[in-house]
Symmetry: C5
Subunit: 160 residues, 5 copies
C-alpha cells in the first residue's frame, strides 16, 4: 500500500493535521490503494527535514506539511527559511511536498482564520491525492485561477 | 524522439501552458525530432520538483514552466522561493528550465495581462526550441535588449 | 548509547548551552539511553557546519544549536544566513537540528531577555528529547499554539 | 588546450560577450595554452546552468558570465536568484565562474552605461586569465580597493 | 603538517590577509604542527569556491576568508550572496570557513575602519587556531558576548 504523509506543528494555532488526515480518509482508495502517516514537530522550521525523513525512511509518495507563521517580521523570515527548506527537501528527494501555510495576518478575525485553516488544509490534502491518482483533475483546471483558503480568483479574459 | 516538457498551474489565471504547447507544435521538427510532454500542478511552488521529475524520469531535454504570482507581499516571497527552486532543479539536473512568470501586478488591465501571458509563453517556448536546435538564433541576438511579454528594450549606443 | 548534541557560541550574551545541557540531564534515560555532547563555536554562523560534523562524525541523533543575533540590520541578515545553513545541514544529514535563537531586540530589559534565553533553551532541549523518545508528547499538542520563551499563544476557536 | 568559457544573454542591452572574448584573445597564450568557448542564452537566469554544463561537458576551467539586470524591483529579485544560481554552480563544480553584471540603474546616461559594460567585461575577462595563469597579479593587488567598471576606490590608511 | 588557508580580495580596501597570516604565524605550533596557505581572488563573491578548492585540493583543515562589502544597496545583496556561498562551501566540505567581512559603512572614519579590519582579521585568525587546536578557549567564553572588531558586548545578568 502506498503512503501519503501529513506533518503538522505544536506551534500552529489550529489542528490542521486532523483536517488533512480526515480529507484523505474520504478520498477513493483510502485504506486500499494508499494509507496515511502522521507526525507532529515543534514548529514549521522542523517540517522540511521531517518530510525528507518520511519520504526516505517511510516510503511516502507525497507529503502534506502544515504550519502557521505569526505576524512579526521575524516570523516572516522564519517562514521564508522554512519554505526554502521544504523546496530543497522536494528537490533532494524528487518527491512533492505540499506546503500548507496559513499566515496569522491573513485575517484579524479568529473565526475567519480558523475557516481558512480548515479549507486550505483540506484542499491541499485533496491536491495531494489528485497528484498521485487523478492528475487529470489538475489538468482540466489549468490556468483557472483556483485558490485554497479563500474564493477562487478565476481566469483572465481569453485572448481570441 | 527528444522531449520538451511544459508544466503549468491550476492557480494561474491564464492557460499559458496551451499557448506554449501550441508554439512548440509550430516549430520545425515537431513530432519528428522532438515531442512535448504536459503536466499541471497546483501552484508555482510545485513547478520545480515536477520539472526535475520530468527531466530525470521522462527524459525531457528542456522544460518550460509557467506561473502567475499574485500581487500581495506574501506572493512575491513565494515567487522568489519558487524561482530559487527552479534554479536548483536546473543545477541538480544540468538541464535548462525556462521560467515563465507573469506577475499579476505587471498591468491593472486584464486584457493587457492576458496579452503578456500569451506573448511571454510563446516567446519562451520558442527560446526552448532555439536552445536545443538553433542556438545561433540566440547568438545573433546577443546584447540586443530583447524582451518577452512587452516590446524590446533595444541595445545601448555602441562604444567605438 | 545515543547522543544529543548541544552547540553554543562565544558571541551570545547568555550561556544558553549550560541551560540546554542541564535540561537534558533531567530527562528520563539520561546517562543510560542517551548522553550529551557539547561544543562552543565563535558565532551563530559557525553553528551549521559544526552541527553537521557532530552528526556525521560523532553520531549525534539530534542537535540543539543556540545563538543570539544582535539588533543591527546586518545582524538580521547574518541570522538569516545562519538559519539557512542550519536548514541545509538538516537536509544534508536527514537529522533534526533545533535552532534556538534569542534575538537581542526581543526585549529591552536585560532581565527579561535572560529569562527568555533560559526558557527557550530548556524548552527546545526538552523538544529534542521528545522528538527522539516521546513523540506522542508533540502529537498531543498539535495545533495548540505552544510557544517557547514567552507565554503560549493558544489555539484558535475550533470549527464545528 | 585549456578552455575559458564566455556566456552572454539576448536580454542584455550591450554585447558584453564580444568585449570579454576580445580581451581574452589579447592575453598571453591565447590559441596556444588556452582557447575560448562562447554561448548566448535568453536571460541572466539562464547563465548558471549553462555555465555548469560548459564546465562539466566542455571542460572549461573557468567561465565568465555576463548580464544586465533592469531597473524594476522584480529585476533585482531575479538578479539575486541568478547570482545565487551562479554561486551554486561554482560550488557544485568547484570551478570559478566570474559574474559580470551591469545594473541598468548604475547610470542614467546610456553612454556611461555602455562604457561600464566594456570596462567591466574586459577587466573580469582579464581576471579570469589571471586566476588561471598569473595568480600573482591578484596577490600583489590584495586589499587595494580595485574596482571594475568605475575608478578604483583605493586602499584605506595603513595601520602602523 | 596541517594547513590553515587564508583568502583575501583585490577589491577590499585593507590588506586583511596579511594581518590574518601574521596572527597565525604567532600561534603555538606554527611551522611545526600547522602551516598557512594564501590566495587572493578578485572580489568577495569569489571567496566561497576558492575556499572549497583549498579544502578539497590543498587539504586545508580550516579557511579564513576576508572581504569588505561596500555601502551601496547592491553591495549588501552581493555580500549576502557571498555569505550564502561560504555557508554552502562549509556544508559541502564539512569544514569550517570563518567569514571576516568588514562593511564599509561600519564607520565613516577611515582610521576606525582600518582598525576594525586589523582587529577582526586577527581575532578570527586566532579563532581558527583555537577551533583546531585549543577548543577549550572557546568553551570557556561561551555566552560571554565576545565581539571582533569592536569592544565586547558582555554577558546579560545571570538568572539565579
Amino acid at each position: 500500500m502506498e503512503r501519503i504523509g501529513v506533518i503538522d506543528t505544536m506551534f500552529a494555532r489550529y489542528d490542521m493535521g486532523t483536517e488533512a488526515l480526515d480529507e484523505l480518509t474520504s478520498c477513493p482508495g483510502y485504506g486500499e490503494r494508499f494509507d496515511t502517516l502522521h507526525q507532529t514537530v515543534p514548529g514549521f522550521k522542523d517540517l522540511a527535514v521531517a518530510a525528507k525523513a518520511m519520504i526516505e525512511r517511510e516510503g511516502c509518495r507525497i507529503v502534506v506539511v502544515l504550519g502557521m507563521p505569526g505576524k512579526a517580521e521575524v516570523d516572516k523570515v522564519c517562514a521564508h527559511e522554512a519554505s526554502q527548506g521544504i523546496m530543497w527537501a522536494q528537490l533532494l528527494t524528487t518527491t512533492p511536498i505540499l506546503e500548507v501555510f496559513v499566515h496569522e495576518d491573513e485575517s484579524d478575525d479568529p473565526e475567519v482564520l480558523a475557516a481558512v485553516c480548515v479549507d486550505r488544509a483540506r484542499k491541499h490534502a485533496r491536491n495531494a491525492y489528485w497528484m498521485l491518482y487523478e492528475p487529470d483533475q489538475l489538468t482540466r483546471r489549468a490556468g483557472q485561477g483556483v485558490r485554497q483558503g479563500f474564493a477562487d480568483a478565476g481566469p483572465l479574459p481569453r485572448r481570441s
